[in-house]
Subunit: 547 residues, 2 copies
């Protein structure tokens, strides 16, 4: 893989070696752009000098509260300034930031707080109910600090709903704006902890280090053309892989963070105009919501908005409608374990003249490695060898590079399993096209093998979703004596669907799919989901086995 090193008697020194850390971005932005707007939240605006001072206060107050090297500080909040500030204040105190998914329930929050031994918990009052539940079960509860979001006038809970002993602003006031924070001695030091919510088992704590956060932020800034003129709208939750590291990337270029408490289409369209938003990230479902909002602008914005989307491929209708109002969409793929984006569907000039359908087909692919990620491969599931780049052979997406997690906190078994064979194994199945672009086919554990043929459940579900009476659908394997497995569909109908038979659904599938890919069984009803909205296919598989 690598060659040994020759010693030339010129070792690292203080003058020529500094640990890579995104904390350096804020220090520089405060020096270069002290008077520039760093954060916008409703009518509340602060400059980079002010943001830096607030983050130093934050770090100082944490230190005074006994937080030290390697301690965890947890925070549960929508995209408000406190959550952004935590991305600097917490690691400036030498601590690890754990951002909590705001959709989690009390027990799931409690699991994380206990597992990470969080010393401090900062929470927006919106979540006082699950928060109180989470704290009840803890033997040594953390110091709790409340975020009282007065800036947008949307905190209507009042002091009676407080969970903590003091407010975030009061806590900051305890800190020193001249606090002398320090970079970590080693860039491998942990900076953030993100719990993944799998469909089975306990959540796993994904650990990021300063080096990876620095590099992924830089890679995103480069890939999406962030500049000092960037105004970034926080549609993507910051708790999600630290906002795909844009929490740091926007500061790197001295751009402006525009906070957003709730994903409200009218407010989003208004902010894109008034704050001249240049960049935003959002799942296709959010883009879809924007497009179906009555607030959708009739005319094109007079500036271009770069939109990075991931989690699912952007459908051609979304691409077309978005382009009409001046948005340019780029498709990304990644996992919590890869600091968010690991690949992007880099644009090729020979796509410029393709028609919409052909373009959407190109853009639906997850693409190629980010500039700071080292390598994306599709590996044969059995042998671990590289699958041919033929656009047909399905294998597991494997990733290696500096923006792959350190591992799972206190979970050596899961860590070793994830790093099997010198790669991070994503658990996602894909093909690699002859141009080197990957395209996801399914989750490894979801794929159905019927008569020796692979069936992508995503492919079948896509057909089901297109049925006008289907609202929700999931396909899983059902054991079968003859074929090994056959596809079994679980379908939720629209409220106004009336009577629909299993036969009708199967026939619908036959019109678009090869016979062996069509569901042999169809079950109607609600789909079991996790707190974060993922369908629990493991439960469906158990049900299918009993049919």
């Amino acid at each position: 893989m690598t060659t040994p090193t020759k010693d030339d008697g010129l070792p690292r020194r203080e003058a020529n070696y500094v640990p890579l850390s995104p904390l350096s971005f804020l220090e520089r932005a405060a020096k270069v752009y002290p008077n520039k707007t760093a954060v916008v939240h409703g009518d509340w605006r602060i400059t980079y000098a002010e943001l830096y001072a607030r983050c130093k206060r934050f770090a100082s107050a944490l230190t005074k509260a006994g937080v030290g090297l390697g301690d965890t500080v947890a925070i549960m909040a929508p995209n408000v300034p406190a959550l952004l500030e935590a991305h600097y204040g917490v690691p400036m105190a030498g601590a690890i930031l754990n951002t909590i998914n705001t959709r989690l329930d009390g027990p799931a929050i409690g699991f994380g707080l206990k597992h990470s031994q969080a010393k401090v918990l900062i929470a927006d009052r919106d979540y006082f109910k699950p928060m109180r539940e989470a704290l009840q079960g803890l033997e040594s509860p953390p110091l709790v600090i409340d975020i009282v979001d007065t800036a947008t006038g949307k905190d209507g809970h009042g002091a009676s709903m407080a969970v903590g002993t003091l407010s975030y602003e009061d806590f900051l006031a305890q800190g020193d704006a001249d606090f002398e924070w320090k970079l970590p001695e080693d860039e491998w030091q942990s900076i953030a902890l993100n719990y993944t919510s799998g469909t089975t088992g306990d959540p796993k704590g994904v650990m990021y280090h300063h080096r990876g956060a620095y590099l992924n932020a830089m890679g995103n800034a480069l890939a999406f053309g962030l500049t000092a003129d960037t105004a970034y709208l926080w549609t993507l939750p910051m708790f999600h892989c630290n906002g795909w590291t844009y929490t740091w990337a926007v500061t790197l270029v001295g751009g402006t963070h525009v906070c957003l408490r709730t994903v409200d289409p009218a407010q989003i369209f208004q902010l894109i105009g008034s704050e001249r938003i240049t960049h935003m990230c959002a799942a296709p479902i959010v883009l879809n919501m924007l497009l179906h909002s009555p607030a959708l602008p009739k005319e094109r914005y007079d500036h271009r908005v770069e939109v990075a989307t991931g989690g699912a491929a952007p459908p051609s209708a979304v691409i077309e409608a978005m382009e009409r109002i001046g948005f340019k969409i780029t498709h990304l793929y990644g996992l919590t374990e890869t600091y968010g984006p690991a690949t992007l569907c880099a644009w090729q000039h020979d796509w410029d003249d393709l028609d919409l359908t052909a373009r959407a087909g190109k853009m639906a692919r997850q693409g190629v490695a980010m500039p700071t990620q080292q390598e994306i491969a599709v590996l044969d599931i059995d042998t671990g060898a590289r699958a041919p780049a033929d656009g047909r052979t399905v294998g597991e997406i494997a990733i290696r590079g500096n923006t792959v997690m350190k591992g799972y906190l206190n979970n050596p078994t899961a860590t070793e399993e994830a790093f099997k064979g010198g790669w991070f194994r994503s658990g996602d199945l894909a093909v690699m096209h002859p141009d080197g672009y990957i395209e996801i086919k399914d989750r490894l554990k979801d794929i159905i093998i019927s008569g020796g043929e692979n069936i992508s459940t995503l492919e079948v579900e896509e057909v089901l979703y297109r049925h006008p009476k289907v609202m929700d659908a999931a396909v899983v394997a059902k054991p079968d004596e003859k074929w090994g497995e056959t596809p079994c569909a679980f379908v939720t109908l629209r409220a106004d669907a009336g009577e629909v038979s299993a036969d009708e659904i199967i026939k619908w599938c036959r019109a678009s799919l090869a016979g062996f890919k069509c569901p042999k069984n169809v079950v109607f009803g609600e789909l079991p989901k996790t707190a974060t909205g993922k369908v629990q296919k493991n439960i469906l598989r158990e049900q299918a086995a009993l049919i």
Copy 2:
């Protein structure tokens, strides 16, 4: 400075740690943009797939020739493809690239070849004379390879002028395009060696590592907005700090390198139009030459050209004329020891509405740290403490960060001297303005102290240069019993100047400068210069002392 690290049992692994190296940029560009034009040289064009294959051949041929880890490969060439390819082919063989300044004479080239123990020397036939001279004095001469530049039809020397035993293309043909190169095990491994040509003493060999090359390239790509649409014109010599690391930065984004054998204004303007050049770097003297060329376009280009300039502040006349044809100028500062650019004069929005003179004043400053450089400071020369940011207090520019050299090859004394006090000491004197922007005043060893007052020789020289009959000027200290030192001017007059008296020159200075800053003596004649065109002020100081 830094805090210790807490071990969480999650060490580096093959999957999540890869040494930072700009070699990864080429590997990625060849994967993502295999069919895109990577290099243009006259009518000769190659894609990224071809560039990568050629560089692998290069590395393979070097390996077959016995070049290994830490060996030096020297190259002396104008900005032709072979020199660009050497930036990948040489380190892919584990070796260190030494690019030779094409203005050096035989003995200076010989010194470098001997000092670096170069195993291979690749040289353009244009330099056959100094090359033969340099090789004559060597006990164990390197393998010599000739670059025969047939692409632009400008190699008129013929085989009789060969210095080497084979041509570069024949050498490549010996290599294997499937060569399995390896990244260095340690990103601290050396990648390039650049000799500085001081005005006194032997040249010093500045050593760069893979980490610094990767980061400086990334910082430049970010700061100058390089993208996959970038077409970069090679006006800046690649031998100069590896072309300020743009040799690697342009490849990082998958842009196009447009080679340029000679800095010919007509060809430059033609290429800017035909290749849609988006970025170039050039010293103000080159910009000035462009502006005074009859080839200067009458009309604005229909696209913007970003021009990075350094070495001296861009004069307002240059800024104005450049803006008129669609160029946007950014001022940089750096040294060989900082991989080229260490600072940039980052634009501030409140400069937008300034008039030309005020804007030129802002832009004349060397500015703030590059995104990947850690810190620029102005230090009190005696105490080493930070000078106040008052725009008046002169101190030495000190730099620390990941894009500061490893040190000087086999020169521990110079290395320790350069890294005194935990900083790289630049030897340049500057003030820091209240906005944190630095502005250079003089070289440390050149400044004159007269009656306890500092006199910037740059300031006096600027006034002399404005005199219509002065072509060249240098000011040095002359020992003085009463004042300690006084300024002594050495002046070269224009050919058509006629008679000019010392008094006339002194009076000219009085009109613009405080009395104590004006030269007390004026000497007319040629100025002694080094092979690279630097005025040898040490010789002038000796002459001044004898007056």
